[in-house]
Symmetry: none
Subunit: 215 residues, 4 copies
DNA sequence: CATGAATGAGCTTTCATTCAT
DNA sequence: AATGAATGAAAGCTCATTCAT
C-alpha cells in the first residue's frame, strides 16, 4: 500500500503528521482489528517511525481511542448534518438515516472501528462507543417523540417504549448498513426508504392505537 | 471466580472435561475477547492444565471455533424450538423473538462470543457466524413472506424487500437484546412485544400498500 | 504406517514387546532424529501405550541408548561375521567391507541412528558410538597390520600411521555407504571392490616403500 | 563463557551485532546441536536480548541456515584458496587437503555445524550441506581425473569410478579430520601427507592397471 | 499387564514500548 | 523533529513423564 500521504522523512507540521497517523491507524484497526494491528504496521503505513507515533499519540490504547473519537464524531456530525432541524420529524429521520448509510458506506474502515472493533475491546473503548450510540438513540428518540406529538392521535407512548423503539430502529439501521454495504448492493437512499417504510408505518399504526398481541 | 465445576485435579472422563473447558472458554472469550483471552486463563478457569486443553481441543482457534459452534447451535435450536411451526406466522415470529431474548439473556457470554467476538476475527469464525445469522434471516424472511401471503391483501412485496425487512428485524432484535439485557431491565416477552408491535404493524401497513416517501 | 507387529492390546511376553518397541524406536529415531521423535509416535508405531514404553525402557534417553546398543552390536556382529578369521587379511578386509555395505543397506534406519543421530547428541550417545567405531577401527588396524606383516616387504609402518590409515579407510567406507545407498545405485560388492582397489593398492605401494611427498 | 565480543547493552551498528549473533549461534549450534540450542542461550552468548536476534535473523531456522551458509562458504573458500590452480594436480590435492584440515581444526564449531548438525536436520539444511559437499567432491573428481590424464599410463578410469574414488577420499578426509582434531594430536600437514601417501599411491597403482580382486 | 488422564517445564515467537543519538 | 537500536513481558504450543485404575 505504501504511505498514505507525504514523502517519508519530510518535516511536516504536527497536525498533518497526526492526521496521517490517524488515517493509517483507522485503516489498520478497521481491517486487522485492535490486537492484530501492530504499531509497526501503522507507523509504516503512516510513513513515519514508531517512536514518532508514540511521541504524538502516547500509546496504542490512546491511538485507538483517538480513532474512535475522530470517527465517532465524524459519524455523528454527518447524521446531524443530514437531519436538518427545520424539516419535519419524518423527513429528518429519513435524511439522518440516509446520511448514516452514506457515511458508513464511504468510510468502511471507520465504521468497522466503531461497530466491530471498539465494542469488542475492554471498557475504555466500549464505553466511548456506547456513549456515542446513546447520543444517536436519544436523537432518534426525540424525533420519534416529536412525530408522535405532531400527529397527536391520542395514544401517547410512554418514554420506555419510545426508547425501545429507537433502540430497535438504530439496530435495524446498523444491520442494514452491513447488509447494504457488504452483501447486497443497495444505495443509501434505498436503504433509508426501506427502513422508513417499515418503521414509520409501524410507528403510525402504533400511534393510532393498534397493537399486536399474542392473544 | 474459581473452577466452573469439579474439583481440580480429579480424574474425569474426557467428555466431562471437554464440557468444562468449553464452558470456561465461552466465559473467557465472551468477556475478554478472542485475543485477550489466554489459554492459561481458560485452563485455570476450567480447573485443568494448559496441555490438557490442547490435548482435547487442539489449538486456540479450534477451541474458539468449538465455542462458536456450540453456542450458535444452541441459539438456533432455542429459536427454532420457540417458534413452533404449527402456529400462525405472527405467533411463530413472536415466540421466536421471545425465545431469542430469553436465550441471550440466559447465556450472555455465549451471545457475546457470537455477536461481538466471532464477527471481529478472521474468516474462519466470521463465516461460521454469518452462516448462522443467514439461516435466521432466511427463517424470518420465510415467516414474513408467509404472513404476507396469508393476509392476501393484494400488495406483494418483492424478494429483495422481504430480505431487507428481515435484515432490519434481526438487527433490531440484536440491538434490543443488548439494550434489554445490559441497560434496561426488560423481560424477554416485553421485548418481543415491543418489537412485534413495531414490526408487525409496519408490515401490515406495508401490505395494505401504504408507503412512506420523502415526497 | 501402523503397528510394526502384533495386534494392539494383546498380552505378549516382555521380550517380544520390547523388540517391537525397539523396532519402532529405531525407525522413528532414524527418520525423525532424536529430538523430533516423540515418545508418543514411537509408542503408537509399536502398538502400545506410552506408559508401557516407560515401564520397559525407562526414559527416552535409555530408549535411544538401547537402540544404539542393539544396532551397533548388530553392525559389528555383521562385519565380524563377514570377515571370517581363517581367510587371508585382504580377503577378510574385503569381506568385512562387503558385509558392512550390505548391512547398512539393509538397515538404513539403524545406520542412520548410529551414523547421523547418535553422533550429534550429547556425550552419553556419542561416546557409545565412538567406542563401537573405535572397535572397528582397531579391527581394521589389525587387518592392515597383519597384511603388512604377511607381505614382509621390509618397510614397516609405525602404529600411528596404521591407525591413521584405518581411520581413513573406515571414513571412506562410511562415505561410500551413504553414496552407494542414497545417491548412486551400487551393490555392496561393487562398493567393497572399489574401495579395495583403491586402498589395498595404496597400501601395497606404501609397503614397497613408495611415498608421496610435496617435495 | 560470557559474551563473545562487545560490552552488553552497548549500541552497535547492525552489521557488527549480526556478526556477534552468528558467532554465538555457530558456537552454540556446534556444541549443543540444533534442537538443544535455545535461542535464549544464543542471545545471551551474543550479549543481546532474544527479540533482537529475531529482529535481525528472523527465526531459528533462518539463523541456522545463515550459520551453515557462512561456515560452508568459509570452508569451501579455504580449500579453494589452498589448492592453487597453477600447481600440478597432486600438489593441488595435497594443498587442498591441508587447507581443509587446517580450517576444520581452527573452526571446530563451524565444522561441527556443517558435518554433524546440518546433516541431521530436515531438507532445507541437509540439502545445502549436500550441495557444498557435492561441490567439493566434484572438485576432487576433477583433480583426480586431471592427474590420471597427466600420467597418461594407458588405463583410463570411467567416470563412475572416479566419483566413487572422490567420495571415498572426501569421506576419508572427514574421518581423519575428526580423528586428528579430537583424538590424536596430528598437524594438518601430517594428516594431508598420510592421506596422500595412501590415496595417491593407490591411485597410481590403479592407473598402472593393477587391481585387487577376491579370488 | 496395560492404559486413559493429567501436568511441569520449556521453547519459539511477537509486540508495545523506550533509550540514545 | 525524528529515528535506529534494543528489550521486558507474555503468549501459544509441545513433550517427556507420571499417577490412578
Amino acid at each position: 500500500m505504501g504511505p498514505v500521504k507525504g514523502a517519508k522523512g519530510k518535516r511536516m507540521p504536527r497536525a498533518v503528521r497526526e492526521r496521517q497517523m490517524l488515517d493509517a491507524a483507522v485503516r489498520t484497526f478497521g481491517q486487522r482489528g485492535y490486537q492484530s494491528a501492530s504499531m509497526e504496521e501503522i507507523a509504516e503505513l503512516a510513513g513515519v517511525s514508531k517512536p514518532l507515533v508514540y511521541l504524538y499519540l502516547n500509546s496504542k490504547e490512546d491511538l485507538f481511542a483517538a480513532c474512535i473519537r475522530r470517527e465517532g464524531d465524524a459519524l455523528v456530525a454527518a447524521v446531524r448534518a443530514g437531519a436538518q432541524p427545520e424539516l419535519a420529524a419524518d423527513r429528518q429521520l429519513w435524511a439522518g438515516l440516509a446520511a448514516f448509510f452514506t457515511h458508513t458506506a464511504e468510510h468502511p474502515d471507520g465504521w468497522a472501528v466503531l461497530h466491530r472493533q471498539a465494542r469488542t475491546h475492554g471498557e475504555p473503548f466500549a464505553a466511548e462507543v456506547a456513549a456515542m450510540r446513546a447520543e444517536i438513540v436519544a436523537f432518534v428518540t426525540g424525533l420519534i417523540g416529536a412525530a408522535a406529538h405532531e400527529s397527536h392521535q391520542g395514544q401517547e407512548l410512554d418514554a420506555k417504549d419510545l426508547v425501545g423503539l429507537a433502540q430497535a430502529l438504530v439496530g435495524a439501521a446498523e444491520s442494514l448498513a452491513g447488509w447494504a454495504n457488504e452483501t447486497a448492493d443497495i444505495s443509501a437512499k434505498e436503504a433509508a426508504g426501506t427502513l422508513m417504510n417499515f418503521a414509520w408505518m409501524g410507528l403510525g399504526a402504533l400511534m393510532k392505537g393498534e397493537r399486536w398481541s399474542p392473544r
